[in-house]
């Protein structure tokens, strides 16, 4: 038997890992990223002469649940047509047996890289609201993301926000009909189906733990799949909000979190689901109210909080009035003297 050198071994491994695009309309450009389930490559669509991203299972030859999961991810993305969600173009099987789907190629920065250039709290809050938009849309369509974190948010070259990697997305039971559901749909507290379409039994109530530690809701960490609903994603968004407002990278405004913002984060990240915001609309409404200088639902204001908020909202106006009064007092004293 021929002896294979380390170099030959590496070349064979590399070559085997690359997707076999023979017979497809795509040509390989480069490997872009590696996710939990598949690898993302930049490929060229020779028909449309454009660059797209191709997500492929890590290795060829699967006829198993991984292939089905990748297809599910593609189908989930296909039903979520939103500017903040990467559109799917194509699905299929490569010549080497690997399942793939192609999607828009996103050129941009990950959120954690992008926010280094954002130093004010309001700017970061506005970014957060734009992240909430596609998530709220997905909830209205009965889809949970289940892996929201800075690494899964991209900022495009024109500042557009894209929530990516829906590989762990879950379709909620009641949302199977084709009609899009209204805003209240995100308050679903329904039974959820697992990746293979089987209902988790009520007696066990447990499944495998999937998600990112630190961003997963407590029920997700415990593997209680049947308890997952919109509030699980809200938990993750609460952690993401805290991340956006944290000192690393530094934010220009005061280091300590404002009481109202801290209250919003606390409510979103409450360990008990019942204590969290029930729907995305409630979370975004509170953040919007904070940005407008209004009272937020999550925080019971004291009189001092109210005065401080009034001052923040009308700061310049108050300062002008104060300047006027100061001038008047000075003139009075000067005249008297």
């Amino acid at each position: 038997m021929r002896q294979l050198s380390d170099n030959a071994l590496a070349r064979l491994r590399n070559g085997s890992a690359l997707p076999d695009l023979g017979g497809t309309r795509y040509s390989l450009i480069e490997k872009v990223a590696r996710g939990g389930m598949g690898v993302v490559y930049a490929v060229k669509d020779e028909h449309l002469q454009r660059r797209v991203a191709m997500k492929v299972l890590e290795a060829p030859g699967f006829e198993s649940d991984l292939a089905e999961r990748l297809m599910r991810e593609a189908r989930v993305l296909a039903r979520l047509e939103h500017p903040g969600i990467v559109p799917v173009h194509d699905v299929g099987t490569l010549a080497d047996g690997r399942v793939f789907y192609t999607m828009k190629f996103v050129e941009g920065q990950r959120l954690d890289e992008y926010i280094e250039s954002l130093t004010s709290t309001p700017d970061r809050l506005r970014i957060f609201l734009r992240i909430c938009d596609p998530v709220a849309f997905a909830h209205a369509r009965g889809v949970l993301h289940r892996d929201l974190k800075p690494g899964n948010v991209m900022v495009g070259p024109f500042g557009e926000i894209l929530v990516v990697d829906w590989g762990l997305a879950k379709i909620l039971e009641e949302a199977l009909p084709t009609e899009p559901m209204g805003p209240d749909a995100s308050t679903l507290h329904s039974r959820a189906y697992c990746a293979d379409g089987m209902m988790v039994s009520a007696t066990t109530g447990h499944g495998s733990v999937m998600g990112t530690p630190g961003y997963m809701s407590p029920e997700q960490e415990r593997g209680e799949i049947e308890l997952l609903d919109a509030r699980s994603d809200i938990f993750s968004l609460g952690v993401l909000l805290r991340y956006l407002l944290s000192d690393r990278p530094p934010v220009r405004s005061s280091r300590r979190l404002d009481h109202a913002l801290a209250a919003i984060c606390r409510k979103a990240c409450a360990p008990a689901r019942e204590r969290r915001y029930a729907a995305m609309q409630e979370l975004t409404a509170d953040v919007s109210r904070y940005l407008d200088g209004l009272a937020v639902a999550a925080h019971q204001e004291s009189i001092w909080d109210r005065l401080a908020r009034f001052y923040r909202r009308y700061r310049f106006f108050v300062l002008l009035i104060a300047a006027y009064l100061l001038v008047r007092v000075i003139l009075l004293l000067v005249i008297k003297h």
Binding site: A8, L9, D20, K31, F62, E63, T93, D96, G97, R98
Partner: protein, 252 residues
């Protein structure tokens, strides 16, 4: 094997698909021997090198221990105790090797066994040459993780070596020797400086012919390597994990 076997889709991995684990538990003697042969084919070289490195045995001692281990595996039905839910087969085998060597030392009954595994020609001289020519720093390989990594690498080398030989035979059978030559030149012997254009010139072919031939050869290589891998995995989930470990590491 037809390409459409790998089109994916709705078929799940059949539970009764043949593997060495299924084979060794068969009541058919020929089936058991075939399973052991397949296992030995894939593992004897990694086991030999592992014994040389981990247990620091001389070449003759390592050869003897390797032969003994596979004989023990058959005699004591070690594979019957393997539980695919608890570990990978290769990890289980590596630990069995450790246990075997320790027991042999303890009992001091190590004897020259000679060629116990009759069906296969084990080229220990070649294996020793590979071991000696490899750039292995024994002092750097001390932790269990690095030993596991070493064993895995040698196991992949063995697996790919077998697949390359199968591919050579397939190309000869289908009268596509030129495809194998191109595969050998580019993927086995080549480096980053070698281009398709250079290969085309060297072989007097068009570049598209080189591209197509290499694509075909790689596709067949993957298919064959996967078949080999599937045979030496204990379960579908182990096969998925091992496939990711073997094929999922590209550095492009």
């Amino acid at each position: 094997m037809a390409q459409d076997e790998f089109t994916g889709g709705d078929e799940r991995f059949p539970a009764t698909r043949w593997s060495v684990i299924v084979g060794v538990r068969s009541e058919d003697v020929a089936e058991r021997e075939r399973a052991l042969d397949r296992l030995c084919e894939a593992y004897w070289k990694p086991v030999y090198k592992y014994v040389r490195l981990r247990w620091n045995r001389s070449a003759p001692d390592a050869q003897d221990l390797t032969q003994g281990f596979f004989a023990e595996m058959l005699g004591r039905e070690l594979l019957n105790r393997f539980d695919a839910g608890k570990s990978r087969l290769r990890t289980y085998l590596r630990l069995c090797v450790d246990s075997f060597v320790m027991n042999e030392d303890k009992a001091e009954r190590r004897q020259k066994r000679g060629g116990e595994i009759q069906h296969l020609a084990l080229d220990f001289a070649g294996a020793e040459q590979e071991f000696a020519s490899g750039t292995i720093d024994a002092s750097a390989i001390a932790s269990p993780e690095s030993l596991e990594a070493f064993f895995e690498k040698e196991w992949v080398r063995s697996l790919f070596g077998l697949a390359v030989e199968d591919l050579r035979a397939l190309c000869a059978k289908r009268e596509r020797d030129s495809a194998f030559q191109l595969f050998e030149a580019y993927d086995l012997e080549g480096d980053d400086k070698l281009s398709y254009a250079q290969l085309a010139r060297q072989h007097g072919l068009a570049v598209t012919d080189v591209t197509n031939a290499l694509a075909w050869a790689r596709r067949e290589f993957r298919r064959i390597a996967l078949e080999r891998l599937r045979e030496i995995c204990g379960s579908d989930s182990e096969f998925q994990r091992e496939t990711r470990a073997v094929f999922g590491r590209s550095t492009c």
